[in-house]
Amino acid sequence: MSLLKNLLYPFERPAPPAARTPMGFFTDTTLCIGCKACEVACKQWNQLPSDGFLWTGDSYDNTGTLSATSWRHVAFIEQFPDGTASGARDGSSGPAVLGGTQPPSGGFDLDALLSQAKDGRWLMMSDVCKHCSAAPCQIACPTGAIIHNEFADVYIQNDICNGCGYCVAACPFGVVTRSAIDGHAHKCTLCYDRQRDGLVPACAKACPTESIQFGPIGELRERARKRIAILHQRGETDAYLYGDQPTDTYPSLHAFFLLLDEPSRYRLPDNPEVPQIHLAGDYVRAGIGALLMFGAAIVAMLAYAV
């Protein structure tokens, strides 16, 4: 009986919880200091295993990418004119100097150093699942394991997922990953368990600079627009919001970002596209191919058989 129950329970469809206020993340990358507290808090709360103590060898970013065991990833985008951000990189010893300029003998000239600060910079962004309002992974999922929960966030039901991997192929942000441990797809749940108990997601709770902000989507968008206005007023006119509004090819994101450079600099797609956007046309073209093949075979078989 127990075996039968286990086999059949995935087919049970209890009524979903009543919809609640859509919640999400607003990540202000201008406030991120790269402390990785979000990564640690996420791993701790969700009991995610270590990824190993590995060095990428070309960045302070040693997490590398979002994965089945890293649901937050602080990307370090190191922008310097000649690749000499650190002494180690160009083989020289001594303290690192922005812009690769050597300090004058006898010590640092603070004014000179500050005046050169624009020669280079680090962009830091705590990346996460974008919780797309119409998510390609959710559309693709053939088992129905991926759903939008009552907070309108994208959630993978781990007891339903069978690890087919189609969601991995469908995600234009490279978020969803199949675990080598249990064979199922995993990603940020937006701390669904904490949300249900009225708590803030672990990463947002741990963020010391409020770079990661959690709340109702409408409020976050309003807050983000105000932040943009402030930054523009201060002269940071490159600041803009990524994913707060839908585009012609992609829906709005429930985890959206304030960026200072092109999206691709942050390894985000410049113009994301819902992969299923061409689906009807693809089916029509496949049908044309199938009918052409079938029709040609009928003609050939009839012509030669008589």
Binding site: Q79, D282, G289
Partner: protein, 290 residues
């Protein structure tokens, strides 16, 4: 510093924005076996419907090949899952916008029909001939769908190459027909069904020509991305195996040669080319993303 004026990005691994799906050899085998099965079934059924006197014997063996091939395909599909014991979760929902969901249902329906064809072919009783023809005709649409949907499935992803291949469904559909023609030609030769051999040769020529056109369309849309991702040597290998040895050479042989050995070589080469194309197609996701 404004967008476009940013200096060289130093440090930080330049990883791809998308992740390749965890699909490897099992999926290559799946792409090959499902389309070998559906193509073989389709033309076996077509032979039964059009001229059972000419094609009946070959069609019978075709059914005996199609069902085991689709069972082997299902084994590959299940083995490829991260959690194979949950394979049946695929059947807990039906999603029109998910080609994998519709494909699973189509394969299930097709496998059931192929099973009936298999049983009727084993029985091989004259009084069951009409039933075999009927089930063959019923299987036309599921077999066509099984041959076509995987191209759509791959196109509806965010993966480089695949996402630009708008005619991949048509390409794989034509390729499944080519596989069916090649397999039935080999069967006709094995059982010395002389009247059927020259017909399946003609069908194979037509299918190879269509495959050549479809592959050219695929490469026109994706050739640059393939070359960028694979690099020069690998791209040459891909073209040589999947296009040269797998389509052009068997087409030339099938058109020019009259000897059965040459025709058999043409059919085998065509099958080999289809396998090579599918291998590269799956691996593109990994290597172009790398």
């Amino acid at each position: 510093m404004t967008p476009g004026q940013t200096p060289v990005v130093a440090g930080g691994r330049t990883t791809s924005q998308v992740k390749p799906p965890p699909w490897h050899g099992w999926v290559v085998a799946d792409l090959f076996l499902s389309e070998l099965s559906s193509g073989t079934f389709l033309f076996a059924a077509l032979g039964d419907v059009l001229a059972p006197g000419v094609y009946g014997r070959v069609s019978r063996i075709g059914y005996l090949v199609a069902f085991p091939a689709i069972i082997a395909d299902l084994v590959c599909l299940i083995a490829d899952l991260g959690d194979p014991m949950r394979f049946y979760h695929m059947l807990r929902t039906f999603k029109l916008r998910s080609p994998m969901s519709t494909g699973v249902w189509a394969i299930s329906l097709y496998a059931a029909i192929a099973f009936v064809g298999f049983v009727l072919a084993i029985a091989d009783a004259p009084q069951l001939a009409f039933a075999r023809t009927l089930f063959g005709a019923v299987g036309f649409f599921p077999a066509l769908y099984v041959g076509a949907y995987k191209g759509v499935l791959l196109s509806a992803t965010a993966q480089p190459v695949w996402k630009d291949a708008r005619w991949l469904g048509a390409e794989l559909s034509v390729s499944s027909g080519m596989l069916g023609a090649a397999s039935l030609l080999l069967i006709a030769m094995l059982i010395s069904a002389q009247s059927a051999i020259h017909v399946y040769r003609a069908v194979l020529i037509v299918m190879l020509f269509l495959d050549l056109v479809a592959t050219a369309v695929f490469l026109a849309q994706t050739g640059r991305a393939i070359a960028d991702g694979f690099g020069f040597a690998r791209t040459i290998l891909f073209y040589a195996l999947a296009l040269g040895a797998g389509v052009i050479l068997p087409l030339i042989i099938a058109v020019a040669a009259e000897e059965q050995a040459a025709l058999a070589a043409s059919a085998v080469l065509a099958m080999f080319g289809a396998l090579a194309f599918r291998y590269h197609l799956v691996m593109m996701a990994h290597e172009v993303n790398a």
